[in-house]
Subunit: 273 residues, 2 copies
């Protein structure tokens, strides 16, 4: 495999340049990339340090490295253009066209994307996270009326990470309820959930995947046996079908994919923008 | 304020196009944007539906709307170009230059960016989240040796959301320890933390901001009084200084900014890429 160094330069957190660069790199799977993240480049000195590292990489690899940049300061961007590298710059590329299309001048201010833009929205995000933590694993069951979505599923089917992602990323009040073997044998929705059916999503998972996850947690237990995993998954899926709860199979999905599919399916409004 | 509709089109989760489009829009603060997210556009029919909504918006606003796109399928992208809108397309824009620079053809495959690329890395992320939940608010204190970073700070200074973000986004094992009034009066680091000083970060916050957060939680309590907030913050900052624990002021920072500053300050390796 051919190995190339890729730099991610930004003046603040580097979250935008991370997503920007990696979404493009993901299309080149025949190469191996060595990723170097350099955030908080907010002065000529810091850029000079970064350029030194870029030049070193160019010399070592006998290739100009790739450089993704979201530097807002146009003076810094100009300096970067003289370095021995291929620059892909988000602002250089799109800002001018957007100014023309919107007939407005861009602010060119640093730290706009992932800073606090709106305190109320920000607080909502922390509130929804606290809500999610309080309603994790059915801990508190009164007041589920506040939940925008309630994930149900057997133990270790991915409810908690998905709920936390929904609250942290999108400010969604997400509760979760674990379907216990008793719930599953009872064959109906637990009474406490009945009033909330239209806000519920059922997670399911391949029994083999569940087995692996449970084995790592409680090896050789009844709980982690393949037989138990198979039975619980089958019972849960039957329950979703019988009660009309929409189902998402988390086996081959990332947390982000499960979360966005829930947003989409349940027509939830994201609160962070 | 002039209002413009902006569409975010993607073939999968829409996370990339969200970050891509909003980082650019954040530079145009004199306009008001109405954002429409349309993920999972994976067929000509779904794109035709999206184009219909775009054309309707163009007619209503007497302006062609802005359209950010991360559609990988070039047939769909071609179709989009005939709609009455300004298209900013991540792949159209950069893919060809990258192919030239890397001397390789891009895969042009859908769902690469936020899917599960590597199961081991994915499991680490869930593991680190479980670790973080277990070590929230100093709940379990044995085995802090496993923590890559330990956030300390007074109650409600932002430890929990930051830890959860670090684990969910970057797969970092992040523990947190709340400094109680007793800890603060004692004027030294709690004994349980002493072996881990080089992995600790102290969060601080403006007393007025802390007051607001605590009032929302327990109005008119001693805990939430401005006097208590001022004293605890002062004592915590003195403790950080005395013990050489690096300090981050969370008052004007978003969760993302606090998290990335910690990564940067503590030279932590992110695990999700």
């Amino acid at each position: 495999l051919d190995r190339r160094t890729v730099f991610f330069l930004s003046d603040r957190t580097g979250i935008t340049v991370d997503v920007f660069g990696n979404s493009l790199l993901s299309q080149f799977d025949e190469l191996e990339f060595h990723r170097v993240y350099i955030p908080y480049i907010d002065s000529e000195e810091k850029l000079a340090d970064a350029i030194e590292r870029i030049e070193e990489a160019a010399e070592e690899e006998h290739h100009p490295p790739l450089v993704f940049s979201t530097l807002v300061n146009s003076g810094l961007r100009k300096q970067l253009r003289h370095a021995n590298c291929h620059v892909y710059d988000l602002f250089d590329t799109f800002m001018h066209a957007m100014e023309m299309d919107l007939k407005t001048r861009a602010a060119r201010a640093v730290g706009r994307t992932h800073g606090i833009r709106n305190l109320a929205e920000y607080e909502r995000r922390v509130d929804s996270m606290n809500f999610t933590l309080n309603y994790d694993d059915g801990a508190k069951l009164r007041d589920l009326g506040q939940a925008e979505v309630i994930l149900i599923g057997v133990s270790r089917s991915g409810k908690t990470p998905t709920c936390l992602y929904l609250s942290l990323q999108y400010g969604i009040y997400a509760a979760n309820y674990p379907l216990t073997p008793d719930d599953l044998d009872h064959k109906g929705l637990p009474a406490v959930l009945l009033p909330h059916r239209e806000r519920m999503v059922g997670l399911t998972i391949l029994p083999e995947r569940l087995y692996r996850v449970r084995q790592a947690r409680r090896p050789d237990s009844q709980y982690a046996s393949l037989e138990t995993c198979r039975r619980e998954v089958r019972q849960a899926e039957e329950l979703y079908q019988r009660t009309g709860v929409p189902m998402i199979n988390s086996s081959s999905l990332s947390i982000e994919e499960i979360a966005t599919e829930i947003l989409h399916k349940m027509h939830l409004r994201r609160h962070n923008l």
